[in-house]
């Protein structure tokens, strides 16, 4: 069970990383640094993803915080 939970978190982290990269990082790759706009987009994207996870968790009747 703990192992499944762990696997779930890994998968969640991967999906989150993938989704926020898609939403925040321009795909022309003009240079190899993240610019300021991208960085703050990423921070907010992670925060909002987290909120969606919690919101959905409540709807599903999870009583432990995610």
């Amino acid at each position: 069970m703990a192992e499944k939970e762990m696997e779930y978190r890994v998968e969640m982290f991967n999906k989150l990383t993938h989704t926020c990269f898609q939403k925040c990082v321009e795909s022309k790759y003009k240079d190899s640094e993240l610019n300021m706009g991208e960085n703050s987009c990423i921070d907010r994207c992670v925060a909002k993803y987290w909120q969606v996870t919690n919101l959905v968790g409540v709807l599903l009747g999870n009583n432990r915080p995610m």
Binding site: K15, T19, C24, R44, V52, L55, V56
Partner: protein
């Protein structure tokens, strides 16, 4: 029973979150969900759950060789 497990699985949870986030959240000017995004996520999640329950029922019927509704 199998379908119930599937439906309740953590994987389903993850993919529900990803889908509803992708469909409902597109602005990153703030770090908290606004009212509209929250409503969208709620509806999306409820629809997805109803959808996946329906799919589970149909899937179970097909697994048992039952006739499908037309």
């Amino acid at each position: 029973i199998e379908q119930l497990q599937v439906r309740d699985s953590l994987r389903m949870y993850n993919s529900l979150v990803e889908r509803c986030f992708t469909d409902c959240v597109d602005s990153f000017k703030r770090k908290t969900l606004d009212k509209q995004e929250e409503t969208c996520v709620r509806r999306c999640a409820e629809k997805f759950l109803k959808h996946s329950m329906r799919v589970g029922l149909r899937f179970a019927e097909l697994n048992q060789g039952a006739p499908t509704p037309d």
